[in-house]
Symmetry: D2
Subunit: 327 residues, 4 copies
């Protein structure tokens, strides 16, 4: 199985190296708008540098990894599907849910494997939690709490073209809400504030946000997000069910602890997502490869990408209007 | 300082014994609709059994503790204030905010000390957290998360006359939201489900609930409640600020841990509120006595009781209508 | 059941108040070499101040609590037993094992209840650990580790008449070794250093020590002691058995934790023994009363006091000579 | 820099793959008494299969990794040094301290880099603890406690040729004692029992052991070992100093925790050394390469190997005779 990689930025490099390190798989081609970026990654992985069109036309390339800017994702998915390739696309499919619907319609005939990069589903801790939930350890799910806090806010320029916190950051947690409960959400309440950096507020976005969701079955979900956490990248999940609670948390930078007159000091938690989710990025690609090789549709699917986006739209609307959005 | 105790039920017994155990303070009189209950507590504490009117008329009694059923609280506060006594009243003042307003108006001329029994403010762990917040350890507050889960649901008969989960159970957390942030809430979003016991749903109440609040200053507050927690009485607070997070949690039944083939098993957390909040009940009475002796208005005040009730009303309305309530 | 208390110092006050607070039990008399100390405690507890001889001769007094200086313990035990009283004596019975043997011989005819104040056996956490050990949760015991560290070294004057660290401090841990394993020790290896305060070394004692013991059944026990722990009073037990590990640890001063740029800071552990072992002191007296009332010999017995002292002697000898002592 | 690998067993495979994965370094040759083992590893890493003599004579090979059975280590170190190669040798150099002395003498003229594989020094957690010790966070070291427990006992056949628990297993902890304190040990007390598997006792060895050491400066060290730990591979270090305690512990298999009626259940700790010390194996080779490239003697040195072996000999002798061994 041979891969073509579109986009050799931060996330493209991760995926490129992960593909190059998988046995029986090769990274055949890399492209990037910045030639040096493509060249460097190609050199490190043994891939060729090729323009997008050549990758699409190369019959020996079975699958493409889309790691380009968000506004190109939908077009590239369509081109790749038209060219008969399996596609792994970084989240989100598009900032517009309408465009995602159109894209999913376009590719429905091709019916090739499409997987969206909601990497957190593959974090070993979260995956173990999900596995135990499915095994019934916590009984029937009643309430889910998801905490996701970045160490530092991104530059305001990034914020301005991000689609807003709910679409850019919380979309991961909204996908996890669906993943963990195994249900679709029917109610969305959102609130947000700009407390971390007033420039983010001036740009029309929030940096501190909370969401409540209700599933069709009445399960409640709480999510909180912040663009700041001084103690590391805070990623926690807590699921309450009829038999008890399952939770999964952070890993500290080391297990070293100092006890002195001030008390017991443990390390900050791992910081940042490249470290925390290194295994998740590797494992999601393995799942993609396994699905493609096994002739199965990978998960999370394009429809999962659409539903997370619709929830992010609803949360954005709720936070702006103060009103609950029913789906 | 001599106390009269109205109500010798579960909570009245706690307060009665705490008063009897304070040095320089005495429990002079006890009353209860069930004579045996009054008699038993009187015997244990050295108090006399007296009818309510006699307690009110006894000039040697400086203060009354109101631990009777909720629907008598407002009347008894008014009678006691008219009789010139300081009053400690268990929460809530009344299930109707209008009645609370009338009561506060009635007693405004008497201007005697009135304290409402929001005991959690006096839990040593939560009080230490609040102290550190006030000292600025976490910087400016941005997001507060409060978790409160009872071990087991109450009988449906109790639920039916409780005013509903938001007024009966979450009122404590709503008060904590004001206490921790030092601000009033301006927006209330609530959702609820009946997942623990369908009979509770048939009775028109919920047993699993979540609330989001926003303060005037934009601080976000998340609360979750459940009538069930298999692992003990779950009472946690987490406050995120510009400098970091302060949190306070549960105490396990012991520090013993077993490590075996299944992993590391720690004890359930303390169960139930009589155990968890034993110190809080004692400390709140000490604070009441100190305020009365020092000629100061105690805190939490009657106004705190009103505002918590108004938040509980708002949450009940939001959960029933699906819409945000602006205060 | 009426108690006479000999000694109204720090530990005598604890026991005196605990007796006074037990229902159905009274503290009848108090004595102390310092009249004011006796007077103060008597006033607080409703006891009479009486000289030792009067307490011994008072037939209405059923039991005496010996909390006087160590060098008076054996004499007072003998007097009290001769007077037909049950005796609770603070550890140690005497700094000389020979004197303890003579004392035990002396009182063997009286055959009245004698309990030695090894309070740690009654700490709820350690007692829970022991209970689970006895229930077989950890299987057959293989290795026990006991850590005991005081927050600060005592004055050198205290050290000089203490009998040395092994007899003064580690005796508690040596008793716990026997209590936990349910076996007698047959080998003792000890090492010690003076690292905390050189004056302690000049006084011929150590302030940092470690001991290894082997039971008749081959179970290994490790103990470490220090006269200093900057983070609180460190009292931990870890027992390894064929099925797993049982451990019991410290309680922090609160459950509050701060997470910031330096990491996660939990409170120091409880400091000092009056706080940490408050429940243990109360529970050991309850056990004494229950044994006396039930006509049973209490535990830990005088023989337990002797065996702990012999182990402390052996450890002292081993540390001084560098050689193992076989018992 | 080109490596030759002697021995393609379990540990040889780890080192072989780590070398093959280092940039700028290559695994040139592999040898093993079992041709298939060498062939397989060579195929995986791109190395050639060559006999020992050819590796020694190949001038393009700069360094050898000795991962053969223990009784060949000293000979191979000498051959490799005679051939002018840098040497990384798995612990121990030999089961006989005399043979190690002879080997170190033999190679003293060659004066090529020699590093002994005490991998735990490179565990990121233990290395961070050591770094903070050296930075003075805990002040002057007073007492060190090292716990090392294998999940399961090895086969008795392995035990019989292992040199005994102290030389086979505790040697790592004895090296850590020197590494952490930065001092040589002057007193060794050891005790051992056969409690896990009676066949180990029949073979003349112990499976449960404890050691106490004293350094020249009076620092005390406690070590405990067991061939069994049902909850995973237990590897902990605790260092007490004048300013506080530094400790480093285990990592659980995941961060998932279940809370139910039995309490809070966390996962077992990582099991086994290949998982726990994966990073340590990689980092020690990087340190070796850095030392060789930088023209420095690597650490831990051959002398460290000798001193650990002498401590293991002393512990063995102490456990057998019951007497302390002074070094």
């Amino acid at each position: 199985m041979r891969f073509g990689l579109l986009g050799a930025g931060r996330i493209g490099q991760i995926h490129g190296h992960n593909v190059a390190g998988m046995s029986g798989i090769s990274l055949a081609a890399v492209t990037d708008a910045v030639p040096d970026a493509a060249q460097k990654l190609a050199a490190e992985t043994g891939a060729a540098v090729m323009p997008v069109a050549s990758i699409m036309n190369d019959r020996t390339i079975d699958a493409v990894l889309i790691c380009t800017p968000t506004d190109t994702h939908a077009d590239l998915i369509e081109q790749a599907m038209d060219a008969g390739k399996a596609v792994f696309c970084e989240k989100p499919v598009d900032l517009s849910s309408e465009r995602i619907v159109a894209c999913l319609n376009h590719i429905s005939k091709a019916n090739k494997p499409l997987m969206i990069g909601f990497n957190r589903r593959f974090d070993p801790n979260f995956a173990a939690l999900k596995h135990r939930l499915d095994a019934g350890q916590a009984g029937n799910i009643e309430l889910v709490s998801i905490i996701s806090r970045d160490p530092n806010p991104p530059p305001v320029e990034y914020v301005q073209r991000s689609g807003g916190l709910f679409r850019d950051m919380m979309i991961h947690d909204l996908d996890m809400a669906r993943f963990l409960t195994g249900e679709d959400m029917v109610e969305v309440h959102a609130v947000g504030s700009s407390l971390v950096n007033p420039e983010i507020g001036k740009a029309g976005d929030v940096d501190t946000a909370a969401v409540m969701l209700k599933t069709a079955g009445g399960v409640l979900v709480q999510i909180s997000n912040s663009r700041r956490a001084t103690y590391g990248y805070d990623q926690r999940i807590e699921v309450h069910g009829s038999l008890g609670m399952l939770r999964a948390g952070n890993q500290h930078e080391s297990t070293v602890e100092f006890a002195g007159t001030q008390g017991f000091l443990a390390d900050p938690v791992q910081n940042f997502f490249l470290e925390r989710y290194a295994n998740a990025y590797r494992l999601e690609l393995e799942a993609f490869v396994a699905a493609v090789k096994g002739g199965k549709q990978p998960s999370p699917s394009g429809m999962d990408g659409l539903k997370a986006q619709q929830l992010a739209d609803a949360a954005t609307h709720s936070a702006q209007t103060g009103q609950m959005v029913r789906l």
